[in-house]
């Protein structure tokens, strides 16, 4: 039995699901969010806070984000990471369910946990800031109005869900305008995995 979408009580740009007795939440970053300085940090902070409300939490980001992010940051914090484009959604990092016994405890434990989390988030923030600057430069270059052959590449919307655990409904978004040779090109997926230990045995 797959996940069933429930009402999103948190009013963020996300989706909530119920899988049996487990609750899962997916916060979705849009392409425009990548250019905003604090959007990614806010998303991670929000998801960290939700870890006591939901069993599984995910961040869904455009595949463009994948080349710059360090998946270990999410893995170490139990936050799942999904990448999407117009063809598919892939689970890059599975979410770790909150273990029993880690429920909110007395206030002193809360304080220590919050302080530790803040320190961790500060480190993540610095790394993210570097990544965002790089992405901002890329987007600025793409939106340069003085280019003779200007096109404004935007992230294409996903059209097909491939992952099965958990099962998410389609979530159509804004249609992209990358050059035509990017559309439906399987090499984007193949090349993005270079160096990830997935070398095909039939290779040069």
């Amino acid at each position: 039995m797959g996940a069933q979408q429930t009402v999103n009580m948190d009013q963020d740009q996300g989706l909530s699901f119920l899988m049996g007795v487990k609750k899962a939440h997916v916060l979705i970053l849009k392409p425009d969010d990548l250019a905003q300085r604090n959007a990614i940090l806010d998303a991670i902070l929000n998801l960290s806070a939700l870890k006591y409300t939901y069993r599984l939490v995910y961040l869904a980001a455009p595949r463009l984000f994948g080349a710059s992010v360090d998946a270990l940051m999410f893995k170490s914090r139990g936050i799942g990471l999904l990448f999407y484009d117009e063809r598919r959604i892939d689970e890059a990092v599975p979410a770790q369910p909150l273990q029993t016994g880690q429920e909110p405890g007395p206030s002193q434990q809360d304080d220590k946990a919050v302080v530790a989390e803040l320190a961790t988030l500060k480190t993540m923030y610095l790394e993210m800031e570097q990544t965002i600057n790089q992405l901002r430069n890329d987007l600025t270059a793409l939106n340069n109005p003085h280019s003779m052959h200007e096109q404004t590449p935007r992230i294409p919307r996903p059209t097909q869900v491939i992952t099965t655990q958990p099962s998410f409904p389609q979530n159509p978004m804004h249609v992209g305008e990358l050059p035509s040779y990017f559309v439906n090109n399987p090499w984007l997926d193949v090349l993005s995995k270079r160096g990830c230990g997935e070398r095909d045995p039939i290779a040069g």
Binding site: A67, S68, N133, Q134, R136, N137, T140, A141, L142, N144, S147, M148, H149, E150, Q151, P153, P179, S180, Y181, F182, N184, N185, P186, W187, L188, V190, L191, S192, R194, G195, C196, R199, D200, I202, A203, G204
Partner: protein
């Protein structure tokens, strides 16, 4: 950056569908010349759109105008050619220099070379980028042109046949280039020019047959590819009006008309794909150079192997389980595969994909799909753009696999 035999195509993703194009050549000006002093040029090598401004007499062309990659390769010690390449890379980067102080940290540069380039060309090109970096390059990589074609076309398992002016290469791809299975041919568009020149001489146009640019235009306008040469010649001799070859040189009164010898149009196209027909022996005997096997760098280029045998030889060097998949996607790339098919003679003249399919069928290979690349002129550049966009930054250059990003110090 696509370093083609004739053209240097370059530019960032912001250009969209088409790159900037300049000739892949450089001019070494006479520093004592009036033009050099008038333009106050400080560069030792002139590249790009300014080259025509400096060209002087025809005698200058042979010694001062350098085409560095005539057969896709540069000799190790050809310093002039490497200086042209360095100037072109600088020209390409400077053309797209971003505004200062906007946080720009350097481009990820993807350069593309012929698949038969030896390792020293990779080394030399990488060091050219390193020496030439003025904050414009963050990292650089080099990929083979057939690999770029497959990426630009969007097919992960295929055989790419790249055919240019001087040579042709058959390259299987399966997520990576299968370098051990590559087959190179010492035959390209230049050989079609040679047979065209002989045909013009036979038809009484000997004075025109020595003008390379004209011969090339004649080839492009009257050359045909037969599905079966014997059948095409028989049909052409039976109905000469239907296949009559006429070409008027634009802007002149020069008109070429092969009249009853118009059947020879089919010899031009056939020669590219299969030079083994007995009819060509008479041309060889008269002195037309016969394509021979040569070794360039680490690669032996076969002269007389037809395209069908070349594809089969290449595919059969791959694992058996992969061969069926490779035959299902055969991609043709390069100007040497652009052949027209006049409507009136579609029963005997064919395009390049149909011809290749026929050659394979004759050798027992069916269930083959042969296509031209979507954008023959720009597919290499498209592939370079996608590669640079998608490959993770932390995939480091490796001299064994010849892939990955090499960081360039500022």
């Amino acid at each position: 950056m696509d370093f083609g035999t004739s053209d240097f195509k370059f530019g960032p993703i912001t250009l969209g569908e088409q790159p900037r194009i300049v000739n892949n050549r450089g001019y070494f000006p006479d520093k004592n010349s009036v033009m050099y002093k008038a333009f106050e040029a400080t560069s030792d090598v002139i590249v790009g759109d300014d080259v025509p401004l400096y060209l002087q007499s025809a005698e200058d062309l042979s010694s001062r105008l350098i085409y560095p990659m005539r057969n896709g390769m540069i000799e190790r010690n050809d310093d002039q050619a490497w200086r042209v390449v360095r100037s072109l890379t600088t020209y390409g980067l400077d053309t797209f220099k971003p505004q200062p102080n906007n946080g720009f940290q350097g481009y990820y540069v993807v350069a593309s070379l012929s698949s038969v380039c030896p390792r020293y060309m990779y080394e030399r090109l990488m060091s050219t980028f390193s020496e030439n970096n003025h904050g414009m390059i963050r990292a650089v990589t080099v990929i083979p042109q057939p690999f770029a074609v497959a990426i630009g076309h969007g097919v992960t398992t295929c055989v790419v046949i790249e055919s240019g002016h001087g040579n042709s290469q058959v390259c299987p791809i399966s997520k990576y280039p299968i370098r051990a299975a590559q087959v190179a041919l010492n035959r390209g568009g230049g050989d079609a020019n040679a047979i065209t020149s002989e045909i013009l001489k036979d038809a009484g146009y000997g004075d025109l047959a020595n003008e390379e640019a004209l011969v090339r235009k004649v080839k492009e306008n009257i050359g045909l590819v037969p599905e079966d040469l014997d059948r095409a010649i028989h049909e052409a001799k039976r109905s000469p009006r239907r296949v009559r070859a006429r070409y008027r040189v634009p802007g002149t009164r020069v008109e070429i008309d092969l009249e009853k010898d118009s059947w020879s149009r089919f010899l031009i196209g056939e020669y590219v794909f299969n030079p083994n027909h007995e009819l060509y022996e008479s041309y060889f005997n008269r002195g037309m150079p016969k394509p021979r096997d040569v070794k360039m760098g680490d690669t032996v280029f076969k002269g007389m192997l037809d395209f069908g045998e070349a594809i089969i030889a290449s595919v059969e060097r791959c694992p058996v389980e992969l061969q069926t998949l490779l035959y299902r996607e055969v991609l043709l790339s390069g100007g040497n595969f652009s052949w027209s098919v006049p409507t009136k003679i579609q029963d005997v003249a064919v395009d390049a994909p149909t011809k290749v399919k026929a050659l394979l069928r004759d050798r027992g290979i069916r269930n083959v799909s042969v296509k031209m690349t979507n954008s023959p002129q720009f597919s290499v550049w498209h592939g370079c753009i996608i590669y640079g966009f998608a490959v993770p930054e932390n995939y480091e250059w490796d001299w064994q696999r010849l892939e990955g990003w090499m960081r360039v110090p500022n």
